[in-house]
Symmetry: D5
Amino acid sequence: MAIAEITDKLLAAKKAKGVTFADLESAVGRDEVWIASVIYRQASASEEEAKKIVTALGLGPEYAEPLMECPLKGSLDQTIPTDPLIYRFYEIMQVYGMPIKAVVHEKFGDGIMSAIDFTLDVEKEEDPKGDRVKIVMSGKFLPYKKW
Amino acid sequence: MAIAEITDKLLAAKKAKGVTFADLESAVGRDEVWIASVIYRQASASEEEAKKIVTALGLGPEYAEPLMECPLKGSLDQTIPTDPLIYRFYEIMQVYGMPIKAVVHEKFGDGIMSAIDFTLDVEKEEDPKGDRVKIVMSGKFLPYKKW
Amino acid sequence: MAIAEITDKLLAAKKAKGVTFADLESAVGRDEVWIASVIYRQASASEEEAKKIVTALGLGPEYAEPLMECPLKGSLDQTIPTDPLIYRFYEIMQVYGMPIKAVVHEKFGDGIMSAIDFTLDVEKEEDPKGDRVKIVMSGKFLPYKKW
Amino acid sequence: MAIAEITDKLLAAKKAKGVTFADLESAVGRDEVWIASVIYRQASASEEEAKKIVTALGLGPEYAEPLMECPLKGSLDQTIPTDPLIYRFYEIMQVYGMPIKAVVHEKFGDGIMSAIDFTLDVEKEEDPKGDRVKIVMSGKFLPYKKW
Amino acid sequence: MAIAEITDKLLAAKKAKGVTFADLESAVGRDEVWIASVIYRQASASEEEAKKIVTALGLGPEYAEPLMECPLKGSLDQTIPTDPLIYRFYEIMQVYGMPIKAVVHEKFGDGIMSAIDFTLDVEKEEDPKGDRVKIVMSGKFLPYKKW
Amino acid sequence: MAIAEITDKLLAAKKAKGVTFADLESAVGRDEVWIASVIYRQASASEEEAKKIVTALGLGPEYAEPLMECPLKGSLDQTIPTDPLIYRFYEIMQVYGMPIKAVVHEKFGDGIMSAIDFTLDVEKEEDPKGDRVKIVMSGKFLPYKKW
Amino acid sequence: MAIAEITDKLLAAKKAKGVTFADLESAVGRDEVWIASVIYRQASASEEEAKKIVTALGLGPEYAEPLMECPLKGSLDQTIPTDPLIYRFYEIMQVYGMPIKAVVHEKFGDGIMSAIDFTLDVEKEEDPKGDRVKIVMSGKFLPYKKW
Amino acid sequence: MAIAEITDKLLAAKKAKGVTFADLESAVGRDEVWIASVIYRQASASEEEAKKIVTALGLGPEYAEPLMECPLKGSLDQTIPTDPLIYRFYEIMQVYGMPIKAVVHEKFGDGIMSAIDFTLDVEKEEDPKGDRVKIVMSGKFLPYKKW
Amino acid sequence: MAIAEITDKLLAAKKAKGVTFADLESAVGRDEVWIASVIYRQASASEEEAKKIVTALGLGPEYAEPLMECPLKGSLDQTIPTDPLIYRFYEIMQVYGMPIKAVVHEKFGDGIMSAIDFTLDVEKEEDPKGDRVKIVMSGKFLPYKKW
Amino acid sequence: MAIAEITDKLLAAKKAKGVTFADLESAVGRDEVWIASVIYRQASASEEEAKKIVTALGLGPEYAEPLMECPLKGSLDQTIPTDPLIYRFYEIMQVYGMPIKAVVHEKFGDGIMSAIDFTLDVEKEEDPKGDRVKIVMSGKFLPYKKW
């Protein structure tokens, strides 16, 4: 993966300083997944947000500007990713894609869940049989426009 | 898409009888997405579940058996699906895959979210600015075994 | 291309009756491109719209129902289409994709042009040096949500 | 994306000087999308145009020459682009490709919309329900020659 | 290859009647390659041309109509064709593509050779060292429009 | 495209000295397309030819040797090239591949047009309706050997 | 694999009659691999050869004609074949392709081994350590033409 | 192609010293194709063989060690190679793959020709009608084990 | 997946009769995975084995013959299979491929594990923390031949 | 293959010091395949394990930290690997994938073998007919959750 130079810089600073994404969430007032997306250059921050991020990482303000640019998005090199953690999302789309489509259309009519007016949270659910990863996606339903 | 014959039969019966996935949820005692997965031959039902599904659709018990087989999974024809609703899940994986990976590893260590010991709910969130599709995934965290 | 059966039926009726897409536009009160999308099963019609379409084609009301279903979208067999007319749109995306992205971000900020809250018109521009095809797309700008 | 060196230079100068594509449009007397295409090395400028562009960006005339070369076109790395803004054009081609083909052939006969004798404008449509991106393409209709 | 039904019909009639493409050229007044393109559904004929073709093949006028439709073009199943005769054209593009591009741009400036306002002849050159296949392509040069 | 270093050197010299491919044709006594192929490392020159080429470009004899090596051929990065000028040759193969195959077999029997015992000329045809690019290919017909 | 209908017919007759490819070699006076190629529709036979083949298989002369047509060649469905016996040839090309290229160019100069003026034999070499498959290919060397 | 550094070194030494693969065959006592495979890092040499190779090329013993490593094999960048000489082997597999499979199974039963217990020779056959490239492959027949 | 007709027949008989693969193992005297491979047409049986299989499934001897043919192997439609159970083997190859290669070369030298002189067992390991699937592969080590 | 820098460092140290994977197994108290996976950055070590590995290789503790990071997994460049040793695992999946699936489902019901709660051993089986590579995989069976 061709990780952007700024991403490498910030991740190294984050590691060196021992800052977690949760710490960044507190410092910036935005969700940790969104902040990780900014760092991986999948989302763009406002000047204020960018400065808070680099400050929290102990970096000077000159690192803020690249975080404000609208990035060319898509963080993966491969059409079908080989990393097992990421692949599982491909598998979920393959296995549950049609069932989800059927249920969404029944509940909402013809349209889609927006991936732009969209939030995604990652939570840890403690469970005696083994902790669980909970992922909550919320996307605005966009009905197809007719013209 | 090569929809299985049994899937076509059941969807036609469902439409003819005006049964919703939510009705099936009530009748079977399982989540509607899981039931849709059984109908699209992405999951296998027990004999009791299969019979409840076909009965609720007004079909005879001979339709239950194909729902009990372990299917060859993967409901999509295309590596990158063209249907906009389904594609958005590919986009989410592409854009948020690395950020999610970073957050999950930080919270849980090296491992993955299971897509087998896994549940997925689709909910409608009413919102004055436009209703939202809420998708909740919960998968057991599987730490990498060392040996 | 695996054209849906209903599409073949409607196109045959359209040809037999000598109805143009422009005639359908008048009869249905919707744009001809949208109506063509319904016929090619890329968009779903309301019951009233579906009935107007099949009536205008001289077909009985039993042909209306398939037009009301939410289709599995994506009308092309090939990742990169070979048909020269359709390929040109791929070429435009390849050649002008980055310039458009730069201009849109400059005018609107980070976000996309919706392909769902979206209209597309095809017009004939008479020109002494050779008529021109004018295509006007209008999609709602969707700014990336932060969370 | 392997952005050409000259592109990086010009974009950096543009950013440093705070020049917009609209400013370049005024300075050069050409549309901003076309100018962006020259900068992204998808189109070639005349000597005069190239000089106007680099001057407007505050750069010396030695930067003009690379803009005059006929570039190897195609600005994207991926067959199906992952960037959501650019992908939407792929989606439009997939969903509306066949309907557009049907309408164009009905209006013009057998042939294509040229992507060479072609212009493309990006406009902002203010709209109380959310601003819209308007894209207007105009390509000469090229009828198939018979021989 | 999914050869169209009408193509199979016409080729069978051609074989049964012992008509050559050269005979068709004489009968129709169009080049044999163009006529073969019509038969393989890569080009569309006028009513008069279509009738001449089917008559020359000893078929009734009801076979003329499918030849008048604007076909979905692209006669090959494979991205890189395996048939050795056809593959050689892929090889020529791969090996000589860049040199041709360099020479065309030097002679004509930025633009392309049209594949629409285009003719293609296949000739047999007798040669004592072995006959040669001569292919002559002539396409209108289309300069890139600036706007 | 990973252009060979020697290619870049020679093209830069050619541009600096203002030499055209036609000039090279005169100086070397070989066709300009073949010379461009040598420069793009798709063909190999004899020592004499290589020396004439580098001399004509004002370069020392040490540049001649790389032109004499048998190159790994194939000048394009992409399976389906995105550059519009080069793509048109792919389109011609897709659209006219089967018709050409049919005509060649009828004229010559089973076999192929050689792409090795092969020449290719690019000519400018002046035409009041717009100049045309004429490409003449001549390849030895190779009949399939039986054994 | 979409085996041609005629191939299935002939292979069934061959099996029913217990004829080996070696028997066909004797009956037709051509190598068994070439005859297998005719049967798999990868090569075309003369009328006399075709008749000898079908006669040797105990079939009527009406089966001869399809063997005389110039087939669309390429007998495999997959770009990289999965069948282990056939895949090994892909592996040989991958592993030994560059070494063979180096040796051929050193022995012959720039050019290729023809796959058209070409023969291929399969022989059984008895060996106490395990019999060996011997494959002998002989293709005319074709030097690149200069022009 | 990402040629290994050691390969480039050895090929340069080979060229500078004017050593042929045939010379290496004499010096090392192994076939020239195998030696070329070692140089292209597709095969691994013993210490003695490696030293003989580098000595014959006039290089110091420090170049021997990389030739002794088990390489990651597969010498081509592309799934379907574009180089015409190498492509012909792909074509042979495509065209003659099924016929060879049929003949091998008939002669040997179910199993494959090994590409590991395998030798490959390249010979020049002088022929008044044009010299021929003769390639002899010999691979142990491996019958499928049953268990 | 295009399951062979004979496979469907046998699987239906197996289900109808309630025969397990373990039962077939007892009846045939071969491992159940190998028998499943014969049924899925990935391996070929002797006449005696084939008859035992069909007899154990309660079918007549006419079903035995197709099981004796050498099949075209490769049981999956997709390059990267979507079925989660089968995909895990792709994942294992991706993640552990290089480590396995390193260990095998260290233990055995340059060569491979045969997939032909090869056996594969599937066993159930009872485990209080959850049963485990144990897969044991045993393939003859094939050292690379030098020549 | 883009081998990570740390991997190259460790493999060089391992070679220089003459340490085998078996030696590392003794030193670290983990299986050699798992240790190789850590070195190839497919698995992450604890601090203690990482230090033991680098110490055993004679390297300073500063090399331990990169081995503790959760890597982006997938060690191969190619979708279908060309290296013969690694490819055989792809072949096994292709040929035995469906039979394994059938047997696993029969023994365990619907679910998969985990590739995360998973171990893999490589052993050398001495055999007078040729040593064998034995690979033992053990993965927890994960039944599909219903919800």
